[in-house]
Amino acid sequence: MTFRMKLLAGMCALLSFVGGVALATSPAPTQATTELPRHQVPASKDGNLVVGMCDGETSLEVKGVKEGQKLTREQAMRVSGDLMDAWRKKNPDANWDPTPPPVLAQAPKQPTQGTPNPPAGVQKPAVGSSVREGGITADSGGKQVRKEAGVNIQDGQTYGAFTSRDEAIWAASTEQFVKEGHRVFHDAEALGGTVAISCDMCHPDAANTHPETYPKYQVQLGRVALLRDMINWCIENPVRGIPLADGDPRLRAMEAYIYAQRKGTKLDYGKK
């Protein structure tokens, strides 16, 4: 038996042992999991395709398409339209945006036509739905916003329906992100440096980082650079660490911090 074969045999033995242990101990789950509700669609007598809807109740048999076949785009659009109609019939009061009407510059005080958006009335999920009651919906705070701002306000699903509290939360999360960047910027270890140098030693308050000038041709690199290229250059050289990956949370946070320090500065890409 050569050494290589011995090694191979040894490894096989080890692996089978580990596998055995895993089998002997495995099926007990480490966490108690609750079964998620599943939508069991009724089977078609003719073997047609049956499509279920996300409410967990409604389903539709697609005539002329067998189970396992693919729907064309036209067929799929027809199916989803039919399902949506069925759902609306069941839930006449549900909060659902109608196809948006042409936008008015100023919404009239009293809408004279069309349904109010979101429709008035108590918002209740359909009976038996798996949707949890409460929590944030598209309408959360929407009424409050109208009260705060008076009624002469346009509706809007994403930005129109948030309160000043929501906005405070956004601002706080942004600050938190910036603060994390401040921490990394001032911490040689967090930067992965090996010579105890941190960014703030040369750039107090991120001075002289001039993020507003990027992208620009960085003559020493011989190519066009972004702010993050220079951050990484500094990490590699004076800081003597390993450059961070593009998605590294530390790099993202530092970018946030550096930009935050230059609030109000005119963007001037390419500036020498």
Binding site: V195, C202, P204
Partner: protein, 372 residues
């Protein structure tokens, strides 16, 4: 395979090497020709070369002849060598510079912040390196040397942080301007936490620098013995005026200290801490900043003195750019011409006449790329 891109530094050094190679091939006559041409070019660019190279200036105004000179090394911010050799290389370069000066300076001022975090290994390393300076060394303390053990080891190594001496008719006062009001006891900070807070510029936690009552009283008594016509040169680590408070480019009782200096005819303050070319004139007092060997600081977003000619933006791709050391030439009149020996750049002199004429005479070369 090689990188085709050559940096500015590489090109500069290649040109320089080529130049010196050619020089070696010259005979005497050709040498004189080259020397004449290069001197002419230097004069044309308005450059003032260091003393050893200085062309004889026949029309020297009275009192501007040099009386003596001293050199400086400042803000070396040493870590222990096994942690960081970069800053060690820099101080060694500065020591080579001052040892290479011809004529030798009468003494070398060390401008403070020898250590980065006031630790024994850092201060002792610095003390060891400074022993190889040929000229006598005059020490000044910086906040990075002080706030770990409140100056205990520094005093053991170098003696009292504030003292006065006379040299060739000039009265020198060395201050410890980096006292801070207690911000640590209430916060229950460890000595190292206190040190690290002081070591950062951009935190609002630490107090502002001050010379303090006790030391001002000492200074008042010391200056009482000095004739008002005697030129005074003060060394302080922080600038003895109010430049930019958020970064502690600042001395809180600067006005009081300046008041003590007002009765004298000729006063110059030489300070460290700001790591940049920095000039100011307040009444009878001229101020000169010193360069760091470790890194340059950016210019503060506000409060920059009007007379300051900014140094061109440092190139982060060069370890030494924006750093350096320098020399002060004390004139017969007792004023100071300050030479910034910027590494890898032409030296720049900020002359006493520039400051005392409020910028009307002898302006140093202008900034090409000022701060963002």
């Amino acid at each position: 395979m090689g990188n085709k891109f050559r940096s500015i530094e590489t090109k500069h050094h290649e040109e320089r090497d080529a130049f010196f190679e050619q020089l070696q091939r010259l005979d005497r006559r050709a040498f004189l020709r080259v020397a004449g041409i290069s001197a002419g070019i230097a004069a044309g660019m308005g450059l003032r070369t260091p003393h050893g190279f200085q062309l004889v200036n026949v029309a020297e105004a009275q009192g501007t002849k040099p009386r003596f000179s001293f050199a400086y090394i400042s803000d070396t911010h040493l870590y222990e060598q096994k942690l960081n050799d970069r800053f060690v290389r820099s101080i060694l370069k500065a020591v080579d510079d001052v040892n290479g000066l011809d004529p030798q300076p009468d003494f070398v001022l060390f401008g403070g912040d020898l250590a980065q975090l006031g630790q024994a290994g850092e201060l002792k390393l610095g003390a060891q390196i400074l022993k190889s300076v040929k000229a006598p060394v005059r020490m000044m303390v910086g906040e990075h040397d002080w706030f770990l053990d409140m100056g205990e080891l520094w005093r053991d190594l170098f003696g009292a942080p504030n003292y006065a001496f006379d040299h060739k008719g000039v009265h020198f006062v060395v201050l410890n301007s980096i006292h801070e009001k207690d911000f640590w006891t209430e916060r229950k900070l460890s000595p190292m936490e206190r040190m690290k807070i002081v070591a950062g510029l951009d935190n609002g936690i630490q107090s502002r620098f001050e010379v303090g009552n006790e030391q001002r009283e000492w200074m008042r008594q010391d200056l009482a013995k000095v004739d008002k016509k005697t030129p005074i040169i003060v060394f302080s680590h922080s600038p003895l005026y109010k430049y930019y408070r958020p970064w502690n480019f600042w001395t809180d009782d600067a006005d009081e200290v300046q008041a003590l200096l007002r009765p004298f005819e000729r006063v110059t303050v030489i300070h460290g801490h700001t790591h940049q070319m920095l000039s100011n004139q307040i009444g009878n007092i001229s101020f000169h900043g010193m360069l760091s060997t470790a890194w340059p600081w950016p210019y503060a977003p506000e409060g920059l003195p009007k007379l300051t000619v900014q140094m061109n933006r440092p190139d982060p791709f060069s370890q030494f750019d924006g750093c350096g050391d320098g020399r002060m030439e004390v004139t017969e009149a007792g004023l100071v011409n300050k030479l910034y020996n910027l590494w890898e750049r032409n030296p720049i002199t900020v002359r006493a006449s520039y400051l005392t004429s409020n910028g009307k005479q002898d302006a140093p070369p202008q900034t090409k790329l000022p701060s963002y």
